[in-house]
């Protein structure tokens, strides 16, 4: 019954899920089991790259959930992604222990360099994996709760909301750039050694992180699908299209927006946490406003309001970016601009709009 509800007429979603599952099995096999001479062998570089795309896809999914279904355009989701990333980065930094340049078992290198005497209070507990993982969802969730509560209660929406989310992510970037913040300033956190006792450089760990990213993405997709196919999801579509009507139907619109926003922020936080060990660094650049806008672009290219479209969009744009920046580095930004213009002009429903069937009686 539930399976039927989740996947009925969601052919695109099923296809994407099958592809993801196939990837979860095939990529580790191609990397670990096949010998390097085999034409099907996948180098660890590729594993890490696709793993990174998976975390971007999760971020795109989080954005599509609020933008595509509730019409909340957040141009600051990088804030939640970055905070989740920092929480993971803090755990990884604490795991370095006395293997740092200064060999201080208690303090990370940058703190020794800035002559800290002791660990600041907000670093407490980050040596424990479970604590760091709790923070990965709680910190972005709490920020979204406070920020969203203020914004939605004051009925800030549309462009104004988009602008203040930009301000939020920009403010975080400036704050994290400061050395006094105690998060490594400009350089951020890097030089990670192990995660849960496994070396982050090891091939097996990379594959493990890849599998974790794929599994989390699949679970997040199913959870999001549950939300949008429930009555809650229909309330979201209702308030997206006719907010006043929804209020007069007896729904407390602010609460619906707020909890979805919090859930979306948590997904973005998890995405950030999976991203950091795979790229080996987290710095304030993740809070650059442009990065958040780019993530919205992935969703627009893939197709807003279908969930799986966001995943396709994240893979397409980032795949193109990887190819372009190696083949024609100077042309990438032009290509990105052209892609966005073309999609807006010819595919207003994104790439998936080509394949999506219209619902009965639906007009143009």
């Amino acid at each position: 019954m539930l399976t039927r509800r989740l996947f009925l007429s969601d052919w695109g979603g099923i296809t994407v899920l099958v592809l993801l599952l196939a990837m979860t099995v095939a990529v580790p096999y191609a990397n670990l089991a096949l010998p390097p001479e085999s034409p099907w062998h996948l180098s660890t570089y590729w594993v890490a790259l696709i793993g990174k795309f998976l975390t971007f896809a999760l971020l795109a999914l989080a954005i599509d959930l609020i933008w595509g279904y509730a019409g909340i355009l957040s141009l600051g989701h990088g804030a939640f992604f970055g905070l989740g990333g920092y929480a993971m980065g803090m755990y990884l930094t604490r795991q370095i222990g006395d293997r740092g340049v200064y060999g201080n078992p208690e303090l990370p290198d940058f703190m020794v360099f800035l002559s800290y005497d002791s660990l600041p209070w907000f670093w407490w507990g980050f040596d424990m994996f479970w604590f760091a993982m709790a923070m990965v969802v709680l910190v972005p969730g709490l920020l979204a709760l406070v920020f969203g509560w203020l914004a939605f209660r004051s009925r800030v929406g549309g462009v104004y909301f988009a602008i203040i989310t930009q301000a939020l992510v920009f403010a975080l970037m400036l704050a994290f750039f400061r050395n006094e913040m105690g998060f490594g300033g400009n350089n951020g956190l890097t030089d990670f050694k192990d995660i849960l006792g496994f070396s982050v450089q090891a091939r097996e760990t990379r594959v493990g992180l890849f599998v974790a990213s794929a599994v989390v993405l699949i679970l997040a997709y199913v959870a999001s699908r549950y939300i949008v196919t429930s009555r809650y999801g229909r309330v979201l579509i209702a308030l997206r299209d006719a907010e006043s009507r929804t209020r007069f139907a007896g729904y407390r619109v602010e609460h619906y927006k707020l909890w979805l926003f919090v859930f979306s922020a948590m997904l973005a936080g998890i995405a950030g946490a999976l991203y950091v060990p795979q790229v080996g660094i987290i710095n304030p650049g993740e809070f650059a406003p442009l990065r958040s806008i780019e993530a919205v672009l992935w969703v627009a290219v893939g197709g807003r309001g279908s969930l799986f479209g966001a995943i396709i969009g994240a893979f397409t744009v980032n795949g193109a970016k990887t190819w372009f920046t190696t083949a024609y580095p100077e042309a990438w930004l032009f290509a990105l601009g052209a892609l966005f213009v073309l999609v807006t002009l010819f595919l207003p429903r994104g790439l998936v709009g080509i394949f999506r069937r219209k619902r009965k009686g639906e007009g143009a």
Partner: protein, 280 residues
Amino acid sequence: MSMVRNTREAMRRDRVFRFLEPSPDFARPVDTSHGPILYVEDVSVRFDGFLALNQLTLSVDEGELRCIIGPNGAGKTTMMDVITGKTQPDEGKVFFGQNVDLLRLDEYEIARGGIGRKFQKPTVFEALTVFENLELSMASDKRVWSTLFFRLRPEQRDRIDEVLDLIGLLEHHEHVAGSLSHGQKQWLEIGMLLMQNPRVLLVDEPVAGMTGEETERTAELLVSLAGSHTVIVVEHDMAFVRSIARRVTVLHQGSVLAEGSMSQIQNDPRVIEVYLGDEA
């Protein structure tokens, strides 16, 4: 005293701090023992110096079918906004029955408490099907958590089918609401109000854009609802008002100009001057 007022003023707009005030007990039955179900008393609304409502006083009895007419800008829609909690008046009182102060409530509380509203421009959830539109409007637990785990019960399905039949959209129930004709959207919105099980229906221009036959059927529907519901209709179409009205209130420049039966209104020289003019 002025400090109290200032503090109140600061807290009123957008109601960010509303949760600090005790909320009125809506769980108690609405007390209509003296007849009226809706009192509007000395309500004034100012928009940038323009008086949209000027000391408006109005009361509507339970089960009544009341028509409200008036030229453009008379304050009809603003009055509905005040009653449904969308606009906070600068002064005055609005009571539901004798015991529920509507000015202390948010839109969603007023809607759950039994006042349904149909907009001037038919507003339905266009991306959802006709059935889903009615299902969303249905009186039920509308808190976040329960909608996440909501399952439609058989008796609720029956109720939706009943209303679908009443508004004549039974064979369209799987269609997306956006594909309906203008008149069908008007009916769907009336159906959505009925799903809310309201005590009072505020209906803003229900027959705008309808054909003659559709208008007639709408008139029948509204007349049949009166009695078990209180129906307040704002309408421009005088023929339609004549066909359904028992009691008519004329608004002019934000206050009540005249009130009475249709024939009294039609013969009132003040009304003829400002509104009916050549039509009467």
